[in-house]
Amino acid sequence: GKDRIIFATKEDHETPSSAELVADDPDDPYEEQGLILPNGDINWNCPCLGGMASGPCGEQFKSAFSCFHYSSEEIKGSDCVDQFRAMQECMQKYPDLYPQEDENDEKSSKDLEAASMEASAAKEEEGSS
């Protein structure tokens, strides 16, 4: 099935910002640290990772993401299928932390959207306002 990961709900004292990716100026000591540290290492504390580097599947995530990040394959990460699978299997064990989306859910969402393009469905949404 198609899995969908949202960020695990845990206390997050850092300013949550999935917008922090790479430091604009790696030489600037005052620059907030993004995903990649000045020495090129991955910053596992980056808020952009949404806490996935910790928790019960943290190790699997780190393994998969490291492999992905350093992958130089034409389709980046295509040499990391094993690590991804291990991460996926782990996350399936904790559906409360890593909600899974199944194919039926995705299909019904698409049908709902297609229907909303037709006038009558939208009118229904408008209610009797």
Partner: protein, 525 residues
Amino acid sequence: RMREVDLGCGKALLIKESGEFHAVGHKCPHYGAPLVKGVLSKGRVRCPWHGACFNIGTGDIEDFPGLDSLPRFQVKIEKEKVYIRASKQALQTQRRTKMMAKCISLSNYNLSSTNVLIIGAGAAGLVCAETLRQEGFSDRIVMCTMDRHLPYDRPKLSKSMDSHPEQIALRPKEFFCTYDIEVLTEMQVAAVDVKNKIAVFKDGFKMEYNKLLIATGNTPKTLSCKGKEMENVFNIRTPEDANRVVKLATSKNVVIVGASFLGMEVAAYLAERAHSVSLVELEHVPFKKFFGERVGRAVMKMFENNRVKFYMQTEVSELREQEGKLKEVVLKSGKVLRADVCVVGVGAVPATGFLKQSGINIDSKGFIVVNKMMQTNIPGVFAAGDAVTFPLALRNNKKVNVPHWQMAHMHGRIAALNMLAHGTEISTVPYLWTAMFGKSIRYAGHGEGFDDVVIQGDLDELKFVAFYTKSDEVVAVASMNYDPIVSKVAEVLAAGRTIRKRDVDTVVFLSFRTGDMSWLTGKGT
């Protein structure tokens, strides 16, 4: 950090951010999208389908499309349990129309004098009027339009061509009475006297104003070839145009000129209903300028699989008639197409001709020039929507024209706030969508001038995301079946962050599809 919870007679969206809980309506008031599948960032949730944004603390709409906000529910934490308290009505309607003032000076008004005059009753005009009332403005507001109808959902004209005006009305007519927003239909402004603050209508009627909003939108271009005046050749500008085309096209031969948003959507709608649908286009793929060649080609394949025929790298040289009605469309390539109906979607020009002598600053393409507060060069005169060119913060305040539904709403709101001297500057990421054959392409950003496209996913399967880059920077993103990546990127860009080309892979990885490995084995890049 977001979860849908069922409260019996309706659902709520429970959100945890920065350690705090919030609860709001779970469905987007625009078209009913499940917000739990959207993107949460910095105190707001962005809808995955068309990009509307809602404040998680208040439920207020902050970016568009849509007119209504989310209802907000009370959250209480007691002994490690989260309690949500909500009114049954709010849970059932799942929308909240913001409180609005009414007009208190009706009794002593002069018929031909108003405080606010809004020329144009599209999205920009309507949101301007509503925003004024939401902010407590209680003086006279008059909207005038050349159209026959109260404001309607324009994107539906090419996606749901059979819709009647009442079915796609943005607000019921009672709404306008209740909140004293006067709408004068079939009224055309011929000139504006900015010195004396008077709008002069075609029929001679004159109206004095204090503040003016020009939101007249675009006029579709017509063909310039021989026979263009013939019957059964249409632009799609009004619901009547769309309805008429469907009637004439059913079981007949349709030729559509122009393979961009309008042409493609109309072709998709008519594909199952017409006997034949042919698309004529100057470029060699549809959407080439907007989505690029590879995405354009993938979309073209979908259309061809649905019996639509393309005649590319050519244009119409002549329209031929029989007994006064369209019979054939002749192409420059020599091909002659049997045609009972012709739909023309070759672009549009701003409807600003009437402002030529006004003194209002108009650029060489006819767009009204405004600043970040939607102000023209004339004090008290604002402009919004398709007819406007404005500074886009996303592109270093370059002046751009963004003729799309979301932007028109945002312009209307900003104009209203500045009519009330709030000093609010526009700060938004353009967001648009196009829907064909039950599938949507979502787009955010401003891709004008892109020099490269990085694609992840599978184009053949129409499951992809495309990043448009200029030099090293991502300027826009488009996707099909890859939700909520476009909303995610829109939020990154809205926060003022730059996404470099080399980070694209990471953005995709982190946005959601870590569990779905199909993009690894797919043929995308």
